[in-house]
């Protein structure tokens, strides 16, 4: 099953991107978390109950409770995490964020919002 996981605190972004994923028939299932902490708990709970890791994660950077960078530190502790295609999805065009993202091997690409249908289609090719 193809699962896409969206970790973002902005409800309007989540709403539009989920809608877009559905319209584009991009995957079988979308899971949404409001911040890094919820995501780590959710993913671990899913794995413990025999579920599988998502194929794609869209990760925001600036979030309350646990931000994107902090989430990444936890996420790489999960065995098999490398099978996930993780994308940073943020509205930040801050250079230091872009530079920082290059230090993580797990990050496949740095996507600047808005996420359009064109970007979504290209994601599946990567």
């Amino acid at each position: 099953m193809k699962i896409v996981c969206v970790i973002d605190d902005d409800p309007i972004f989540v709403l539009t991107v989920v809608k877009l994923i559905q319209i584009e028939n991009f995957c079988d299932k979308v899971v949404v978390y409001k911040n890094g902490a919820e995501a780590i708990t959710g993913i671990n709970a899913c794995l413990n109950s025999g579920g599988e890791l998502p194929c794609i994660i869209l990760l925001d950077i600036n979030m309350p409770v646990m931000n994107g960078w902090e989430f990444l530190e936890k996420f790489i502790e999960i065995p098999d995490h490398t099978i996930v295609d993780l994308f940073i999805s943020t509205s930040s065009i801050n250079r230091s964020d872009v530079t920082k993202s290059k230090k993580y091997k797990i990050i496949k690409d740095y996507l600047v919002k808005p996420i359009t249908s064109k970007i979504l289609r290209e994601l599946s090719k990567k």
Partner: protein, 378 residues
């Protein structure tokens, strides 16, 4: 200005009237006496009132009134030697006090001392108590000696002017360095790593009110105790790096000022000495406003890239969804329009707040309130 005024001005420019005796001039009068065989020899300089005796040989005589002098008769004849062979019978001089009374002068021969601009400043003269004559060779000798005396006066004037200029320049330089904002320094590091200030300007007192100039001169390392502990290692590393590789010194660091810390910048140009030591020429300055400004600019950039871009991205996302190639029910469309409105209002509030936030930042950095700018705009 007539000829006499110009002559006096020229004479004064030699700065010699009130000065003490000069060995070089004494040698010349001595030679004039010995070579030409006259008991008395003088070098005199004449202003409008006084005949100044700059050197005397064979006579005790003080500066005297110019109107009684023999020498005044040379002033308008720069090319001639003025000779009086027997003053006692000369209608011009027979009533002169120095002829009538002691020292009872009877013979006078004066060679004018002529400046480069052609003014007679005074004379080299020989005198005798008895009437006599002077030979052509004696005249020639006196002319050569007068030329020597004039050369000495010219050189002396040149040296004095140069010294004055150096003094003026040194004074000006000191005033400049003392009044430049920040501290100008010449800092030396010996090969054993010990530091010493070869020069430091008074601006340091303003930068570090708790340290006296004497303390800085005694031990520059007193500065280390003022630097923020988190910046001290970096400071020392950069100083050593500049010492070893002669890289330009440019260190940003925080120093204690009262209870808080302010940002300072040290800049210096290193130069290696023969003994292996390094001397930096540079300055310390307070860059706190600049750093606060940089932080504010970064904050603005951050606000724009993070906060403002988020609703913009959402707006684009929403309108992309509403693109005509998808089909939505009327209710769905209404829902999305509602979101667009929410996002627009979010942007409206943010941009409204921005103005206020940046105004407060600007006030904090510059120390000037709203009134200051309003007044300037009027």
């Amino acid at each position: 200005m007539d000829y006499e005024d110009k002559r006096i001005e020229e004479l004064l420019s030699y700065q010699i009237l009130n000065s003490s005796t000069e060995d070089e001039l004494d040698d010349i009068t001595e030679m004039a006496s010995l070579i030409c065989d006259f008991p008395i020899s003088l070098i005199t300089l004449l202003d409008d009132k006084v005949q100044w005796i700059k050197s005397k040989k064979g006579i005790e005589i003080e500066n005297n009134d110019v109107k009684d002098s023999f020498c005044k008769h040379t002033l308008d004849k720069p090319d001639d030697i003025f000779v009086v062979e027997n003053a006692a019978i000369d209608p011009l001089f027979k009533d002169n006090p120095i002829v009538q009374n002691s020292p009872n002068i009877n013979f006078y021969a004066g060679v004018p001392l002529v400046s480069k601009n052609g003014f007679v400043l005074g004379t080299l003269c020989v005198l005798d108590h008895k009437p006599r004559t002077i030979t052509e060779n004696q005249k020639k000798t006196l002319q050569i000696l007068a030329k020597k005396a004039m050369q000495f006066l010219t050189t002396r004037k040149l040296l004095l002017n140069q010294r004055n200029e150096i003094n003026t320049n040194a004074l000006r330089l000191k005033k400049l360095t003392d009044n430049v904002p920040g501290g100008i320094f010449q800092l030396k590091m010996a090969i054993d790593g010990s530091l010493s200030f070869e020069f430091i300007s008074k601006g340091m007192l303003k930068l570090h009110p708790s340290v006296t100039m004497e303390q800085w001169m005694e031990n520059p390392e007193i500065g280390f105790s003022l630097i923020h502990p988190n910046d001290l290692d970096d400071f020392k590393i950069k100083l050593m790096e500049s010492f070893e590789k002669l890289t330009l010194l440019s260190i940003k660091y925080r120093v204690k000022k009262g209870k808080s810390y302010v940002w300072h910048l040290m800049k210096g140009n290193p130069e290696r000495m023969h003994d292996g030591s390094v001397i930096w020429y540079g300055n310390f300055q307070n860059i706190n406003d600049r750093v606060e400004y940089e932080i504010a600019m970064e904050q603005i950039a951050f606000d724009i890239s993070h906060v403002l871009r988020r609703p913009i991205a959402n707006l684009i996302g929403l309108t992309e969804l509403l693109d005509k190639k998808y089909t939505f029910t009327d209710n769905q469309i209404l829902e999305y329009v509602g979101y667009i409105k929410t996002v627009s209002l979010e942007m409206e509030t943010f941009t409204r707040d921005l103005d206020e936030i940046y105004r407060l930042k600007k006030e904090k950095i510059t120390g000037y309130g709203k009134d200051f700018y309003n007044k300037r705009l009027k």
